[in-house]
Symmetry: C2
Subunit: 465 residues, 2 copies
């Protein structure tokens, strides 16, 4: 049996099904490669079936041995061979330097995300349409929720039961997870990271998932991590708009983030996302805390990236407003404004996420359910992605200032710009029209330079040498 | 002899020319109509000539008598008849209710201003071009400076002398003022208010006009008021960007504003204009002080009008950014953005001023020198002006909410808007495209209403019944 590096090894055993096996049975597996040992939690998958999942990070022969409070699950052992990664498998995404990301094998990761909160809850046809849309879209990350909102009445939830009031939050629904995992795997096949949102404030006590006891929260997180952490495209977003959940304090979020940190053998990327209303003062979670790997920000102003970079972690504005025609402020940006915000944030060394909220088309609100994309921004974001992918970088992921300068000029229309370029060999400048998606060679400049511009908004200047 | 109501009566006498007549000679004239008496300061106009100017506000026979420290100027008396106002003469502009303006005869005053700081300092040809541009532009107020900036080397300044370092700030240049007054009269003929900026911070000690002694400041203000207050289109803007002048304190500005209040027999509109940098926190002068008639604001965000209306005085955003292609942030707005800011501010019951700063055309930077207008915003501002002029108003100038609702929808593109209209007889709605300058009838609505929209930015809804 052979598993590719960063692939997924799954062990299946049979054990007790009486009582509450989710809570009653301890089951772990220790995997060993030479002197490296990794212990993972297994999980109950219903009908007396227990599984453990493991993603190996070394090529060669691995062995494993189980340990359990249930005799049938204890002391089982075996081996498998970890083979070289297959085509397109670059490993999980990690932080590069202070403010950037990279696949583990060193391949560039662009971090151009989008959001489809509950796409896995929709009809099979709609889910497949979402995947089809993602296949031709420029996005390499999707934010998505495990838990339903107060108004949803899905066939299945992560917990046992599908009716508010009669859900058992100490048992899980294996069928829900098997489906959810298959969608995570579908994203992986498309080269897309699954930024999994573990809690959200849109429950308001209806299901009760936003106000479980600390022990129930911990058991839920442990079960989710046991099932999903081995998928190499998984990121953990502890909560969406955590500050809108008045049932939990910052100390609660600290504790839950630390639990994920402890349960997850791979240390997948981990953050928490604020919801403080746009146009109010933004007081973010302290992303400096050691269990946070990157800053998952909601804010409307890409220019703020400059200040957030004071914290030595990547800045990802996962919500900066959505292109669309919704009634709410966050959901009716023009494509011009959406793409403007991308350029602002990315030119300052941050990352920005897309979203779309057209409410009167065949499929509604991409950010909620996926479906089709109707906006004009994805094409321009694809252009932006190509421009940024082409910039020369230092080993820490920063644009190499010795070889390249990039100035985004914003929504204004100055007839010229003054740049104080380094002396020495000149930079060859190109004019990038981010709206028309054109790149036009200009001239060479070095030292203090006056660069004439066509007076039109949404331009960028790129100088390379 | 007959002077129209709100016109200008000028009395000319001859007196001493030795010493410094500007400082040495006290000269006042008391005008009387029945039991109403108004005393005005006269002024020395050079070459032994003294004048006094008076703008009568009652029709009928007025008498006057002079008083002076110089015997030749003392005890002179006479009469004149004040006739009904001529065509187009609606009197000076006054505050109406808390937040609006009106001509004294009750005619609507729109308050759609622009800025040409130093147009009167330019060549005769350019000044006439500016007047020609204003004739076909939608603006009814011009902000303009009396004092030159540090970099200007004009033939004349308000003070005696035209070379930095050799100006006598205790003597004035009557020829400068005669010319300046003729331009104020030219604006009056066009129905345009002259918002006269008495100080500014762009001197930096070069001329020394920004750091005169309290007595010199007071004498300057008294001379300016004596010469100019009788022009019924004059407004006083004590300073532009007062907070950039570090030679003066708030207490100084308080004192100088109170001096203008004391000197001016007509109580022309009076304010002071901040310069706190855009995109920093804005801490305005306390416009609640009794010598302030209206709030002359510099700020980039028309949406702030709502909060400024807490102060019971009209809000006039005299600088909200300029259409153009200048290198500086304040001077390179697109027409879309400029007009968007107008609609934002005016829909909230404020007033907004225009400016233009194209730096590479035949005549440079309208805000500095006047000349030609090149932008696309004036035409759209004219359209806006017509829309606002057509709204039914209460006696205090507010839009009459019983008969009319106006919602500006901004730079977003919602596909519908929910309005909670009053019950009762329905409102007939029109869709206003502020960019295309079109008005399209929609349907009738009352009570809670869902109004579909074409998903495009820069729309407004007007409902009337």
């Amino acid at each position: 049996m052979s598993i590719e590096k960063w692939g997924l090894h799954e062990l299946t055993l049979t054990g007790p099904s009486e009582g509450n096996p989710f809570a009653d049975v301890e089951f772990q597996v220790s995997y060993q490669f030479r002197n490296r040992m990794v212990t993972v939690d297994g999980f109950y998958d219903g009908d007396g079936v227990y599984r453990a999942r493991f993603s190996p990070d070394r090529e060669g022969e691995w062995s494993y041995i189980t340990s359990s409070s249930a005799p049938e699950l204890d002391g089982q052992c075996g081996t498998f061979v970890c083979s070289p990664p297959g085509p397109g498998n670059h490993g999980p995404v990690d932080v590069l330097g202070k403010h950037h990301f990279s696949y583990t094998d060193g391949t560039r990761y662009d971090c151009v995300g989008t959001t489809c909160y509950h796409w896995t809850y929709e009809t099979k046809e709609l889910q497949e349409l979402t995947l089809e849309s993602l296949r031709s879209a420029p996005f390499d990350k999707v934010r998505m929720c495990l838990l339903p909102t107060d108004g949803m009445r899905p066939e299945r939830t992560p917990f046992a039961g599908n009716t508010p009031g009669s859900v058992d939050v100490e048992r899980y629904d294996p069928e829900f997870f098997r489906h959810f995992e298959s969608r995570v795997a579908d994203l992986l096949a498309l080269g897309i990271q699954a930024d999994l949102i573990l809690f959200h404030p849109y429950d308001r006590g209806v299901w009760g998932f936003d106000r479980m006891s600390p022990a129930q929260d911990a058991a839920y997180l442990r079960y989710v991590v046991a099932r999903l952490a081995a998928y190499r495209n998984v990121w953990w977003s502890l909560s969406n708009e955590y500050d809108f959940n008045h049932e939990k304090t910052i100390a609660d979020w600290d504790r839950l983030l630390q639990l994920v940190q402890r349960y997850d053998p791979y240390q997948r990327l981990r953050s928490i996302h604020n919801g403080t209303k746009m146009y109010e003062v933004f007081t973010p979670y302290d992303f400096g805390k050691p269990w946070i790997t990157h800053q998952s920000v909601q804010h409307w102003d890409g220019a703020e990236v400059a200040s957030w970079r004071d914290c030595p972690k990547p800045v990802v504005i996962d919500e900066i407003g959505y292109e669309g025609n919704a009634g709410r402020r966050w959901g009716n940006l023009t494509a011009d404004e959406m793409v403007h915000r991308f350029w602002q944030g990315m030119a300052l060394g941050g990352y920005v996420g897309h979203g779309e909220s057209f409410v009167d088309r065949e499929t509604r609100a991409w950010i909620s359910i996926g479906g089709r994309l109707y906006g004009d921004s994805p094409e321009r974001i694809d252009f932006l992605r190509a421009v940024f992918a082409g910039l020369p970088r230092q080993s820490d992921g920063e644009v190499d200032a010795d070889r390249c300068v990039l100035h985004y000029l914003g929504d204004r229309q100055p007839s010229a710009v003054e740049l104080d370029l380094p002396d020495g060999s000149p930079f060859h400048f190109d004019l990038i029209d981010t709206r028309a998606m054109t790149i036009t060679p200009l001239a060479e400049y070095s030292g203090p330079s006056h660069i004439p511009l066509p007076a039109t908004p949404y331009l960028a200047l790129r100088g390379t040498r």
